[in-house]
Subunit: 294 residues, 2 copies
């Protein structure tokens, strides 16, 4: 079989190469259709499927990509143990009426001689950028490639990875990639825990402790909305996370909602963001800061 010919997994067509992806999308273009891309690293959950549903409402064709991008993991991070389940993912995407899975391998994305990096300034430097060196350069580079490989009109990303979303908005705008970036609200478990493929790593007691991250964010946002000093509200939030079992806190910060510059006063749209550890698992979450009471 020609490696560029789409195969299928169950009902879902799959493209393994840029050429196969473009051939399929070009045919849609000739028929006047619009295309939305949902980039993922697989291990799909209801949060990813919300991206597909959101995308389907905005374009006539929906492509999901699955690529566990090695360049966005630091050497000591969880690249090798990151969960992978292509058959299960394909069934979920078919059920969500996704039209095509794009699942390239690393040799397709980074052939021999590859040596280009897309880096982003201020918005990528704080928060996770301080704790995951190289992470956002890896994200910016692979997302630029996926956007340009697909030529999608629209691409959907979850607000769960809020800094990533702002970094991608910056890259698309700065490089003039002709795409609209859509942020989609975080999907949560009934107890408030943000859905994440990494939740699979949590032991039962860790899973029980995990929703505290969202509860502390919500309480801190409420404090700030009611007029508390941001620095004091953050200090209280950090203490509450430690009490809830998060033995290691990377950050809990209030930031400008677009630039992610630290926010000293709640005088413009803000976002509260946190990254904290339960055992070996690093969880992140974020919430909007409500407009300050007058």
């Amino acid at each position: 079989m020609d490696r560029d010919t789409p195969e299928t997994i169950g009902a879902l067509p799959v493209a393994r190469t840029v050429a196969a992806l473009r051939r399929r999308i070009d045919a849609w273009r000739r028929a006047g259709e619009s295309v939305v891309l949902v980039p993922t690293m697989g291990a799909l959950h209801a949060g990813h499927l919300a991206l597909v549903a959101h995308g389907r409402a905005l374009a006539s064709r929906c492509v999901a990509s699955i690529f566990v991008n090695p360049s966005q993991f630091a050497p000591q991070e969880d690249f090798s143990r990151y969960p992978r389940d292509e058959a299960g993912d394909a069934a979920k995407l078919a059920g969500a009426r996704c039209d095509l899975l794009y699942a390239p391998d690393a040799a397709q994305m980074y052939p021999g001689g590859f040596s280009t990096t897309v880096t982003v300034g201020a918005v990528a430097e704080g928060l996770c950028g301080r704790f995951r060196p190289g992470h956002f350069a890896g994200v910016a580079t692979v997302v630029a490639k996926l956007l340009l490989q697909s030529g999608a009109d629209i691409a959907c990303f979850g607000e769960k990875d809020y800094q990533q979303l702002q970094v991608i908005r910056r890259v698309a705008r700065d490089l003039d990639i002709p795409v609209r970036i859509e942020g989609v609200p975080t999907v949560r478990e009934p107890d408030g825990l943000a859905l994440s493929s990494r939740n699979l790593y949590l032991s039962p007691p860790e899973r029980e402790a995990a929703p505290a991250l969202q509860r502390v964010l919500a309480a801190t946002a409420l404090d700030i909305g009611r007029g508390a000093e941001i620095a004091q509200a953050l200090a209280a939030g950090r203490a509450a996370l430690a009490r809830a079992g998060f033995a290691r806190l990377d950050y809990l910060e209030a930031c400008d909602a677009e630039t992610l510059a630290p926010l000293a006063r709640a005088d413009r749209p803000g976002r509260l963001l946190a990254a904290a550890w339960l055992g070996r698992t690093r969880l992140i979450d974020n919430l909007p800061l409500p407009p300050r009471a007058a």
Copy 2:
């Protein structure tokens, strides 16, 4: 007048904004036309017009851009004195049957908050990359933007800036920009001097000395083609440049024609490249290494 509405200079339509550029190009696309882009920094000479002529033979519409890109000049370099002559350039482009001039200003290319950089690895690190820190990141970033702003099918660059051409090939391939990069042979004065906007800086005695750069490159390439050891041929070439009045030599190197890795033996396609100074003016030039005699 709407700033996005193309104006004209003489007979040549001009777009000052991305929106105006895309509106014009979208109309061509709807009519089934193909588009070639010729990116320049203006101060056009016959070398640029050869790019336009080459491009016109490959696509039905030709867009030339003029943008003196501040981010590819180091602080002590010649950004402020780089020659600018938009009216003269527009007349030359109209005469060469270019269809559109794209002439954005710096605020259009780098609006507030801009913070993305495209960097390229090995191919950008030697040669001019050692002497002009940040230069190729500036080039890679602005060229990625111009390619994505225009959505051109083909873009033409001169072989005169050979390392730049290989860097741009690398960026387009690595980021999956859907464009074909065309290298166009260097245009020379009758005495062999490669055309360059910077030749305008040369005093009359410097102008008289300048063709030695090409003559030494040709003699060195011939030596290597005849079987001379590369290291010895380069040493002789460096001495000849000093004798010819190039008081300062940045480099004279033999490199792999694609990767620009230093070439110890002429066992694959190679390129001979030089950068040398006459007074305050830095000249560059390059030639292919002929296949080695058996």
